[in-house]
Symmetry: C2
Subunit: 123 residues, 2 copies
């Protein structure tokens, strides 16, 4: 059973964290049968933490968890902090297969999305 | 003549700013004839500034400039700081039509991109 954990930075602004929770609901809706459970966690400044978000997926029955970093650039958070937290959680749950997917900013479709955003002002 | 100005936060890490410059090149390539000039600017911590990036587009002949915020959430940077800098530049260049497009994070395609990223670990 597959789970997806969306990981965002976390903000002091509650509204930004709510945006991530709402995005997670949209991901869950679009995931359909591909992921039985979709949760979200924050690296810092907000709850739930990344390990807690993974635990939520495991509690819901996930035996495979893919962590997707909602980040635009490959800074230390993406290259070190998230992997470190996932490794730690993996050590706690050796029976669950945990994998980190590429961060959002590296997606090949980003230039097209930016052009669509620009084009939307004319509509 | 249309120009597109991609606006990112800016980072202390040079590599993150280089990522934005490279993304700008990909946007320019994909823009084709839709935008004659594509530049990028940073809100803080890196150069060029947003006004300088708009000026580069104007110097290249742009009479319409669309500013696209490369941001994931509608924080103060998106709702106040970027509009303030664009308004200021607009006052300097009344003959150029400047518009701010929706920020990246609000794009309807984001959930699909996150699911594609998650799926890529199986390929």
């Amino acid at each position: 059973m597959r789970g997806l954990v969306l990981v965002a930075h976390g903000s002091r602004r509650a509204a930004a964290n709510v945006e991530v929770a709402e995005l997670t609901q949209r991901v869950a809706l679009q995931a359909g049968a591909r992921y039985e459970v979709v949760t979200h966690g924050f690296l810092e400044m907000a709850e739930p933490s990344i390990p807690d978000a993974i635990q939520q997926a495991v509690d819901a029955g996930a035996t495979e968890v893919v962590v997707v970093p909602y980040f635009l650039s490959a800074g230390r958070h993406v290259t070190e902090d998230i992997p470190q937290q996932v490794r730690c959680k993996q050590a706690d749950c050796p029976a669950v297969r945990m994998t980190i997917a590429p961060y959002l900013g590296i997606a090949a479709a980003i230039p097209d999305l930016l052009l669509q955003s620009a084009a939307s002002i004319y509509s």
